[in-house]
Symmetry: D2
Subunit: 370 residues, 4 copies
Amino acid sequence: MKKIGVGLIGTGYMGKCHAMAWTGVRPVFGDVPDIHLVHLGEASQELASKKAAEFGFAKASGDWRDVIADPEVDIVSITTPNRFHAEMAIAAFEAGKHVWCEKPMAPKLAEAEAMLDAARASGKVAILGYNYIQNPLIRHIRKLLDEGAIGAINNVRIEMDEDFLADPDAPFQQRHEAVNGHGAIDDFGVHPLSLISTLFGRVSRVMCDMAKPYPTRKTDVGDREVEVFDIATILLRLANGASGMIALSRTAWGRKGRIAVQIFGSKGSILYDQERMNEFQLYLNSDQATEQGFRTVLTAPHHPPYDRFIPAPGHGLGFNELKIIECRQLIGRMRGEVTVAIDFEEGIIIERTVDAMARSFREGRWADVA
Amino acid sequence: MKKIGVGLIGTGYMGKCHAMAWTGVRPVFGDVPDIHLVHLGEASQELASKKAAEFGFAKASGDWRDVIADPEVDIVSITTPNRFHAEMAIAAFEAGKHVWCEKPMAPKLAEAEAMLDAARASGKVAILGYNYIQNPLIRHIRKLLDEGAIGAINNVRIEMDEDFLADPDAPFQQRHEAVNGHGAIDDFGVHPLSLISTLFGRVSRVMCDMAKPYPTRKTDVGDREVEVFDIATILLRLANGASGMIALSRTAWGRKGRIAVQIFGSKGSILYDQERMNEFQLYLNSDQATEQGFRTVLTAPHHPPYDRFIPAPGHGLGFNELKIIECRQLIGRMRGEVTVAIDFEEGIIIERTVDAMARSFREGRWADVA
Amino acid sequence: MKKIGVGLIGTGYMGKCHAMAWTGVRPVFGDVPDIHLVHLGEASQELASKKAAEFGFAKASGDWRDVIADPEVDIVSITTPNRFHAEMAIAAFEAGKHVWCEKPMAPKLAEAEAMLDAARASGKVAILGYNYIQNPLIRHIRKLLDEGAIGAINNVRIEMDEDFLADPDAPFQQRHEAVNGHGAIDDFGVHPLSLISTLFGRVSRVMCDMAKPYPTRKTDVGDREVEVFDIATILLRLANGASGMIALSRTAWGRKGRIAVQIFGSKGSILYDQERMNEFQLYLNSDQATEQGFRTVLTAPHHPPYDRFIPAPGHGLGFNELKIIECRQLIGRMRGEVTVAIDFEEGIIIERTVDAMARSFREGRWADVA
Amino acid sequence: MKKIGVGLIGTGYMGKCHAMAWTGVRPVFGDVPDIHLVHLGEASQELASKKAAEFGFAKASGDWRDVIADPEVDIVSITTPNRFHAEMAIAAFEAGKHVWCEKPMAPKLAEAEAMLDAARASGKVAILGYNYIQNPLIRHIRKLLDEGAIGAINNVRIEMDEDFLADPDAPFQQRHEAVNGHGAIDDFGVHPLSLISTLFGRVSRVMCDMAKPYPTRKTDVGDREVEVFDIATILLRLANGASGMIALSRTAWGRKGRIAVQIFGSKGSILYDQERMNEFQLYLNSDQATEQGFRTVLTAPHHPPYDRFIPAPGHGLGFNELKIIECRQLIGRMRGEVTVAIDFEEGIIIERTVDAMARSFREGRWADVA
């Protein structure tokens, strides 16, 4: 593989993030093919052209199908709203392209299953945009867990909280419509699930509670009922028997990007918080008794691939740089390497777990993950 | 009331804590009657005499009934293991004494109900040793909540974790027997519930999961099955409609006295952790947008009764000093003042909530709190 | 020694703290003689009587000389403003009493030297109220240093900051008069020096800068010049050759009781902050490279004498409880035990170091500590 | 200006950082000309070619003069060891190129002055690589200071610590030779000075102490004397009258990229630490008294230009991304915009301050900054 032709659909938050990743991956890693930014698709030709100039894409189209149809395009980055993912991804696979699709797969489980079928049928690389798992520290935590550094895991807690919907006076928006999903459990819940999948494997069953802090929201024509749940708390059991909990809120004032992970094992504990993504905490019961305490470990070159970005410890990566690592993993997959990334096979498990959460809440009891 | 005659039963962890509280309450507060340390009861005359000398009690007995029968004793501090609480407290009420009993009330709900009946019949003051609610900062948080500082509460999370049972190689102990209760939900759970009761009022329903990280423990004659659950996680709804969660672990390596509280409201958030009991965190959405952040507020003289201990801010109270505050509240009750303390009327609600947790776990579904 | 007769002069911030310490020392430690609270002295008979009742002293006088003359008094706690220390302490020694005097010794070095002479002549115990050194964690840090846990020390930094003089609109007060000393270097500087003395030994030379953030203060009759310096920063060299720095401010908004210590050695580092006095941080270069980080160690029973207060780790001591430990050390000295406390022999070194700071500032160059 | 032709000399730590910045600046900001990566120079043709391929440069040379001579090159990034800066920068100016030179300017003040003369003579843009000042939060702190949010500043403390020279057993390296400068004061000291320059303006005088924790280091042929000072502490006065302190250590175990800033004013305080570069702390005395505390403010889109990277708050920038911001400022200067960056005119003040530090240390007294 001498070069990679990239197509990009969508130029919002995640679209720009993909563009920066495709641009940055080569100078950072040095060991990847030439990246050709071939074709950018947006909702209008005007916007597409403007963004193509900014991001450095050669061609621009107001119709996403042009991107997928472009023979110079090897892989398509899909960063549009969730409800478009299925159609676009399936079309891309049918056109013989690799796909890098933002998470979650789709608002409805059936659509996600169809996406997986299309991916399987195509034989192409199909990766989802779960960037938090790409943090060098998350990989290092996985290594520690695999090595048994903190022994057998008995309890896991993950909280994901932000406050972008915390203001009760903010108006009704599309996010509040059921057509876009259940609320916190799909918008947020998939991230903790991606961490669980990466660190521990499967969830076997869940018991979910969901809540609407603000049952109605303002519109220009009066109040409208909010159809989704901004808060959710989920009891869970992992396939390995450990108990756990996920707590989610999109209305948690002061939380901006919190993903707080607590892992308790028979020999120690590990803590991590995405808001301070360049450090994690480790407690080892093998330390001298009088000096036992949680160590605050700063990310460093011996936590690869941090070393590809910075040769000095403690200087810190940014959120966007996780996407560059994800991009490198994706390229590895295209070359047949075994890399850390959540593909559609693994992603469908996450979608099914979310589905079980919703079912559990409806029925008021535990639900097995299919 | 010119003076108070004190009887103390038990001289372990909490017994000593009561003794220090009875000794310290007058110099700290200055506004209480003379405290006479009258009679100390322990399991043997020898131990009783030794401890009476250390703690400054005038009389010592190897039979707790002598303490309760002593006519100079006005109030009895009961600090023995939980399974003795009911018998002792009921006897004390029947002897016309006030009672200050360590938490929880009793291993079985029926016993706790009997204790309440005896308290009611006696008309005496009946206070439980829920010291964490006495932190000046917890009171200040309650004041903030009452004033609506963070608006309507929509979500509450409380974690209580320690690691004294975290070592899988530690031997079987009495705590592992079902006769002493369910495990985490009564040993620990009552503390978060005391905070909920103080800050928010009642829990209406619960959904509880419990787990045994180490199903067996070593004894001299081979492994023995652990009968209680060291880990529990509980979904809950408050009477005011807010959703919530309690997570408990006695096997959480590195946690020593963590009681982490997160309260999310429509206007802000409050965080607190008992391991750093001299500070709390406050986020207000009314702060200037560009400078919003969690404030770390250090305890200070304007958080009464901290001012009775230290006239300078940020110098810090200790765990034992919370008991001195509790003692002052108790004395206030004896004088007919309205004070902050969990009496048997409020305590029974906590016991019933624990009972609902156990029921919910057995049945695998939500349980209403009676 | 069957009993100790206590005299107390002064009932302000520190006077109450001494009273609580004398009351609490026996129930906490159990191994001390009976403490008799004999005689309390204050500026008026009325105040003395009121406080004696609150604190539990048998006698009360409006003349401090009565306390010192009382034959039942074995030891005198001197907690009056600094300018009275010399006269009172010298009189107490001459009356054959032991002395527990609050820090610093006196505003002028000559007075402090006279106090030391009187102490020596009397042969009595002469202890200064340097309570911060009594924290079980400070003792544990000393143990770690003595054991070479972090190797040879090359750099030490101590900051002590509060904000009680930070408001520029606050009126002129006695503290702003030169008769009470230099400002930050004696009011605050002695505390870092007590820590240096306890942890490392002597300071050999200093280079001091001082500043007046608010050169004038309001009075009822117009502005008045502030005669002391609220801010000071001092370069220093320890006798063992290490370099160091002390930074002091009484006008540091937000700092309430900060005494931040940083100790760097050839094998690791130690951090401590009095505002979180129940934890310290330890970094060891011998930890596994990929998991090196500062450990947050919570105070625990294996950091004596924490165990005398609480049998469980991480539950926390308070500022006042350090005085109880100090009191226990004092009693040990009265019994001829070797204990950790700053006596007048060690205290005079601190006073001379402050004097060298002032001299260095006047002359604009390094000054040797006499 | 339709496009910018870039030359890069050096491909180490900072060379790669410049390459990533030149690559990333356009997709991030969108408002800059086409960036042409024209010519890369390294010590050998082989290395130059290898790195040119990785970083995407069109031409590669083993002689840096070829880069400077290339007519397609508009601006030269100089990222070689400090001792080469002067010769290269002067040659670049003489060839009519703009210069982006890594900090500090040069090991000797005379060389730095010559660089400034050449820059002035050329009229070209001459920017130094002081990336820490580009943090959106540092800019926001500057805005707060300019607006008087914390009133008149009375005290500033900056610590910069790392541990890459902390191991006493590590061998002698080039850094330990005097030909490369004084040690901590130029290698590290220039960063705190860049922050002071950005936030407050000039330093008027300094009093410096320096220390060698390890006076000798191992070589293959025995121990060799270390010629530089890894530790330095500096008292200072700002031109505005405030007092301050800088503490520096390259042997501070556990510190990886610490630049801890404390700013105290008449109305509040600001704290910042580069190791947690996505947050700062603010204390305002105008907050409600009972809830005053340091706010931990997370970086957010309303701290520009964070918004150009990420539209959501609290997600975090990385160290490398500060270089992208610096690059955008540089491009602005090339277009005649007023931007935040340290040019040679401002940089020479920093070099002169370092020179005054060294003089002060030699003479043992305060030194004025020329």
